[in-house]
């Protein structure tokens, strides 16, 4: 790394030194707890769409905890947070364009 990169990396490391260790254990505990709730829900005889909505909601919470705390995005500058996450959400949302076709096959069949 050149001198500028070393200086930036040192500044980032300095920011990391201020994060307490306990918060990582709390996040880990919360992730395990949510996983336990998901497994419990998996055995409930629930309507699939409702089950899917709840499970995906819990998975998004887990993803937020991992990205925010473990991947440290919560502590990055707001430009980094917004550009990375909005690009990702936009691209993934665009893929939903295929789902109406899946429903068409289900309801109308294939000719």
């Amino acid at each position: 790394m050149d001198a500028v990169q070393v200086a930036i990396a040192e500044r980032v490391a300095e920011q990391h030194r201020h994060h307490g260790k306990a918060q990582f254990f709390y996040v880990w505990g919360a992730l395990l707890l949510i996983t336990g709730i998901e497994v419990y829900l998996g055995y409930q005889n629930m309507e699939p769409v409702r089950m899917l909505s709840i499970l995906m909601g819990l998975s998004i919470i887990k993803a937020g905890l991992i990205i925010g705390y473990f991947m440290h995005l919560k502590f990055e500058v707001s430009r980094m947070k917004w550009l990375t996450m909005s690009a990702l959400v936009f691209c993934l949302a665009m893929m939903c364009i295929f789902f109406p076709d899946a429903f068409r096959i289900l309801h109308l069949g294939v000719r």
């Binding site: 990396a9 490391a13 990391h16 996983t35 998975s59 991947m71 980094m80 691209c91 289900l106």
Partner: protein
């Protein structure tokens, strides 16, 4: 944003700070992870597409499979905790602790891969298979799974495609962390793991050939560490950590979507 003051050739100079407030290596890894999340996104969407458009989608995962997958999830979550502790130790310059936490992360990742491999082998032996997988000799396929492979081929195709891609990522993540923790000392270990994985799996198992990924990884890593030997610093550990947490993150979507939504409730 404040400029970065650096000493270069004995002269202190101020440079414009990074647009994203961090070093290039980390931004590079974030860009890679964004592109990789689209790869997994496409696979998850393909699985969901198949599920929506197929009325008789199978729910083959009984309690043993769910227990196994829950244990795998716990291993991955724990590996993320040990990884973040490795990053923390690295910014304090505690290299012994860094190595210890990285090895703990690798152990959890390896446990995940072994459990997943075991589950794949069980499913293949029971008849949930792909045409490219050889038949398991002396093992009667259960009617239920054999029917699933014939009537809903989208299920095994998307299941093995998605979980196989994730398993490959975890395996390469373990190799990546091994290089960061042990540098060139990890190459002979990797070659040993390749030999064990290759020779210990029967020739009809997909892992018999899949083990060659370790050989390829050993060759690539060997070239990298011999051409550019270096002591990995806290930025390298942090960037490796980003990759590892991403692998964990992807599983947080695969586990409910593939396993829990296909639980067989008796």
């Amino acid at each position: 944003m404040a400029d970065v003051a650096v000493q270069q050739h004995g002269v202190t100079a101020a440079y414009e700070a990074s647009l994203f407030g961090t070093y290039s290596k980390k931004i590079g890894m974030w860009l890679f992870l964004l592109s990789d999340s689209l790869t997994f996104g496409a696979l998850l969407y393909a699985y969901s597409y198949g599920r929506i458009s197929t009325p008789n989608w199978p729910t083959p995962f009984h309690s043993e499979s769910i227990r196994n997958a829950t244990l795998m999830t716990a291993f991955l979550l724990t590996s993320s905790l040990t990884m973040v502790l490795a990053v923390r130790a690295s910014v304090f310059g505690n290299s012994k602790a860094v190595r210890g936490w990285l090895l703990a992360t690798m152990a959890c990742g390896t446990a995940f891969v072994i459990l997943h491999g075991h589950e794949w082998s069980n499913l293949i032996a029971e008849g949930l298979t792909l045409p490219v997988f050889p038949a398991v000799p002396g093992h009667e396929a259960s009617k239920e799974f054999a029917d699933v492979s014939k009537t809903v081929p989208q299920f095994p195709a998307t299941f093995f495609g998605l979980t196989g891609m994730h398993m490959l990522h975890v395996t390469l993540g373990v190799v990546y962390l091994g290089i960061i923790a042990l540098r060139k000392k990890f190459i002979p270990i990797l070659l040993g793991l390749w030999l064990v994985a290759w020779l210990a799996t029967p020739s009809y198992s997909p892992f018999h050939y899949g083990a060659h990924v370790l050989l390829l990884a050993a060759i690539v890593c060997g070239v990298i560490v011999f051409l550019k030997p270096k002591v990995y610093d806290s930025s390298d550990v942090e960037v490796a950590g980003l990759y590892w947490h991403f692998v964990d993150l992807v599983w947080m979507f695969i586990f409910p979507l593939v396993y829990l939504m296909s639980t067989r409730i008796l």
